[in-house]
């Protein structure tokens, strides 16, 4: 290592590293510029001042730590969020000052008081040829002594064994989860299951559903089942009532609704977010995740966005007591597509 001076740093001294090919008509490297002394190098008063500044910064750090403790011990939390905010602010600012005091202090110290001479060091070849030769010889000796080349029987059986041995480590992950089976094709809905409000679970009468209103619906009994979230993730439904004139049911689906009341799966056919937004005026359903838009008047066809399939419709009817019930399960799998959906 050589302290900087202009004689050092001539260009192109090694053949192993890049030297631009324009040597003849390129500028000579003038070497490091002369060192310019800083104020604190020349003026003892400036030096003293810098010293005091550094110490002051360290003291600010001490104050920061004290601020942290003040917040920690003297701001008791109660049930208001303001107290929490205040404590968080004091802990945070305390830590900030504690850290910044130290950090800025040290950097200031380094910049004003420590030597600022740039130093030159030379690079070395990453792989000198001699090392390569030595290493090659060592590797060959190792291979020779192990005899792996001379004994193909050993080599090949080891290879076979080593290829097979990791397989159990993969197979053992089989129990990460059950196989899908038919579970994605069925929901809790079935003939006669009542439509109930989400989340309370109270049943809904057809007469409760006025034109223009929308209900978030779960199947009756959902709140009692064990795997509630999994069932809910498939079974949630949106219930809306339109003027029957505005619905255009396709053949075979004429009686899937009841007097303008229709129920559609709330799980987006894109990647599964709940389609939670209903625009009364346009009769559009909007998924907030990626803005797929479904048109109620066209049996929830996709009219905009990344979803490719309409929302599945839940066939509904009214039971003897006037409550809305499902006539059957969904006629197709709900939610995002999957390979086996078919």
């Amino acid at each position: 290592m050589i302290m900087a001076d202009s004689s050092n740093g001539a260009p192109g001294t090694s053949v192993t590293v890049a030297t631009p090919g324009r040597e003849l008509d390129e500028f000579e490297n003038p070497g490091l510029p002369p060192h310019r002394p800083r104020l604190a190098d020349r003026d003892p008063r400036a030096e003293k001042r810098a010293e005091r500044q550094v110490a002051l910064l360290f003291l600010i750090s001490v104050l920061g730590t004290l601020l942290f403790f003040a917040g920690y011990f003297f701001v008791p939390l109660n049930e208001t969020i303001e107290r929490l905010r205040l404590q968080n602010l004091m802990l945070g600012l305390g830590t900030a000052f504690a850290m910044l005091g130290i950090g800025v202090g040290i950097v200031h110290w380094a910049k004003t008081l420590m030597p600022d001479h740039e130093v030159t060091e030379s690079r070395h070849e990453i792989r000198p040829e001699k090392d390569r030769r030595d290493a090659e010889k060592i590797v060959n000796d190792i291979l020779d002594e192990s005899g792996i080349k001379r004994r193909p029987l050993i080599r090949n059986t080891l290879l076979g064994a080593a290829l097979l041995a990791p397989l159990p480590a993969i197979a053992i992950f089989r129990d990460l989860g059950p196989l899908p089976g038919n579970s994605l094709k069925h929901t809790m809905w079935d003939t006669g299951v009542r439509l109930t409000r989400d989340p309370s679970g109270t049943p809904i009468r057809a007469s409760d559903v006025t034109i223009g209103s929308a209900f978030h619906v779960i199947p009756e009994g959902l709140n009692e089942v064990e795997n509630k979230l999994e069932e809910k993730a498939k079974a949630v439904v949106l219930l809306m009532r339109l003027d029957p004139e505005e619905l255009n049911p396709s053949p075979g689906r004429e009686n899937w609704g009841y007097d303008g009341i229709v129920a559609y799966s709330k799980i987006c056919t894109h990647v599964g977010c709940p389609v939670a937004l209903y625009e009364q005026q346009t009769h559009h359903l909007l998924c907030p995740c990626h803005q797929s838009t479904f048109d109620l008047e066209q049996e929830c066809e996709v009219i905009f966005g990344p979803a490719a399939r309409p929302l599945p419709q839940l066939p509904i009817e009214v039971d003897d007591e006037g409550y809305l019930v499902a006539s059957s399960d969904f006629q197709e799998p709900v939610g995002p597509s999957f390979w086996e959906r078919g």
């Binding site: 590293v17 008509d25 390129e26 945070g92 600022d116 030379s122 989860g177 990626h290 995002p336």
Partner: protein
């Protein structure tokens, strides 16, 4: 060491000396000090981003470990009973309840959560910016290609770390994020449904996912990141840091400050500064107020929410892809097989995989792509100023624009409501911009780089404009130019400026297809170039103060001819 047998045994005299000697003679610290104590590190403000990444990772380890003492990764149902009144009695997972407890009932817990989350954002950001620095300055060239690859792996790992962490509180927002992951997974042909069932331990959401993400988040991913950082830094020491060209700096030396004391003090101090700034942000700005979102439930969803910035671009891509075209075409294909019909959802697969595949493939392969174009096999320890590699810089900015358009798409609803425009129009525009934006960005950036190079030439030849107008005796007005000194000029003229390589025919007079493609690529990269000033040109300009310099004109082979 062999000499120790011949020299006198060292006897320490002071207390500290004795302790040091006791340890040193057992662990060989002297050798380490000899190797590293005065090692030289070049200094430049852009070298700081890697440091920020390292320091934020340390802060993540510290704050994350604190969080593990209180966080409980269980998806069992519980009724909340903590201090936050609005959620009292609400049914939720233990994981969410414990995250609320950390926020409201553990003193300093909220601060730690905020610090952890802000540090995570800064970590991903600094890793990305660090990578861009390496890209734009050409620091990925030989011999540093493998370290570039390690860096790319670190980028992916930091995304994974962020995403797994984001899901842990099990609030409504993160649950919806998982739901999207589940939906994307299920779109994968043949194995998708199985992957989803294996990841979630059954049907979504199941009761396993949080615990599994937890192990990934606090053990596996940090451990691999740590390993990668180790390899990364080892290679930095091995290669020695690159440096910008300038007076005294060559391809065979390193100019900078010694580790002890200056560099260590600056870098060490900087750790505390990063910590301090993050603490101040965590004190003042709330991030991820999970208590506002409520527990995960598959039914409700809050509109207008975004994922963290490093995941946002994938979400944006999902939004931009149309699911249907016109009335009769949709991107979900029903493929008949002998055993039945299978569904292929290109409307999900394409946006989820293609942009990421393009970005990451280009990222990993770039050092080799560029080396193939330039046929440059030399070692490079001197960096490029971005303007001196106009095509590369253009590609980099095009990549940034591509990313940003996708990221903006993840906020298309917010853009629409904020600027009172139709959501559909925003989406149409962004769809176009994804394709046009990067191309425009490339062209504009390359032009700007060339213009800056020309400005450098001007300054190197004629000096800086002073803004002082002087009238010459014969009446002409000129602006006085202040010549630059040798050191400043050297900075402006010392760079490589590769020229287009024209494919050469072989003995049979044929040019192979590969050579033709290479010729095209070379033209694409280097057709427009501004050559560095040569001493001859400078001399010519000194002899002829006003007016153009013929030599310079010739060398400036600006294309479009």
């Amino acid at each position: 060491m062999s000499s120790s047998t011949t020299t006198q045994t060292y006897v320490p005299k002071t207390r500290v000396g004795k302790v040091t000697d006791y340890v040193d003679s057992r662990v060989g610290g002297s050798g380490i000090v000899k190797e590293f104590g005065r090692k030289i590190f070049p200094d430049h403000w852009t070298f700081m981003f890697g440091e920020v990444a390292l320091y934020t990772f340390v802060i993540l380890l510290i704050t994350g470990t604190f969080l593990t003492f209180f966080y409980d990764p269980s998806m069992a149902e519980t009724h909340y009973n903590g201090s936050y009144l609005p959620l009292r009695g609400v049914e939720m997972s233990v994981a969410y309840a414990s995250s609320l407890d950390i926020s409201f009932d553990v003193r300093g817990g909220l601060f730690m959560r905020q610090l952890h989350h802000w540090a995570a954002l800064l970590f991903a950001a600094s890793v990305a910016v660090h990578m861009l620095r390496v890209f734009f300055t050409g620091a990925f060239r030989r011999p540093r290609e493998f370290n570039w690859v390690v860096g790319c792996v670190l980028v992916i790992l930091s995304l994974a770390a962020g995403f797994t962490g984001y899901s842990l509180p099990d609030d409504l927002l993160s649950g919806n994020g998982l739901r999207i992951i589940d939906g994307v997974m299920k779109a994968i042909p043949v194995v998708g449904t199985y992957l989803s069932f294996f990841l979630f331990g059954g049907e979504f959401p199941g009761t396993m996912i949080i615990g599994r993400l937890y192990v990934l988040h606090i053990l596996l991913i940090p451990a691999v990141i740590l390993l990668m950082i180790g390899i990364h830094l080892f290679m930095v020491v091995l290669h020695k840091h690159s440096q910008f060209p300038g007076p005294g700096r060559t391809n065979t030396n390193v100019v900078g400050y010694p580790v002890g004391p200056v560099y260590a003090a600056k870098a060490g101090g900087f750790f505390f500064i990063v910590f301090g700034i993050l603490a101040a942000i965590a004190a003042a700005f709330t991030i991820n107020p999970i208590w506002n979102y409520g527990p995960y439930d598959p039914s409700p969803v809050s509109a207008g929410t975004q994922p963290d910035w490093y995941i946002g671009w994938v979400d944006g891509a999902l939004r931009l892809m149309p699911g249907t075209l016109g009335d009769n075409f949709d991107f979900e294909f029903m493929i008949p097989f002998p055993w039945g019909v299978n569904a292929l959802s290109l409307n999900v697969l394409v946006p989820a995989l293609v942009p990421a595949a393009i970005v990451f493939t280009l990222m990993f392969a770039w050092p080799w792509i560029e080396a193939w174009v330039t046929k440059d096999k030399r070692e490079h320890h001197l960096l490029d100023r971005p303007r001196n590699a106009p095509a590369r810089t253009g590609v980099g900015v095009a990549g940034i624009v591509f990313y940003c358009v996708l990221w903006a798409a993840a906020s298309s609803d917010l853009i629409a409501t904020h600027f009172l425009v139709s959501l559909n129009d925003v989406t149409y525009w962004l769809r176009a911009l994804v394709f046009i934006g990067p191309v425009l960005a490339f062209m504009v950036t390359r032009r700007i780089a060339l213009a800056l190079q020309r400005k450098d030439r001007e300054i190197a030849l004629h000096g800086r404009e002073t803004g002082r107008i002087v009238r010459l005796p014969h009446g002409e007005f000129i602006e006085v130019h202040e010549p630059v000194d040798d050191y400043k000029r050297y900075k402006l003229v010392s760079f490589d400026s590769p020229e287009v390589m024209v494919p050469k025919p072989d003995e049979n007079g044929k040019i192979s297809l590969l050579d033709k493609v290479h010729g095209r690529a070379s033209r694409f990269f280097f057709e427009d170039r501004v050559a560095p000033v040569t001493p001859k040109e400078l001399e010519a300009s000194h002899n002829d103060h006003h007016g153009e310099i013929a030599g310079a004109k010739d060398r400036e082979s600006i294309a479009s001819h």
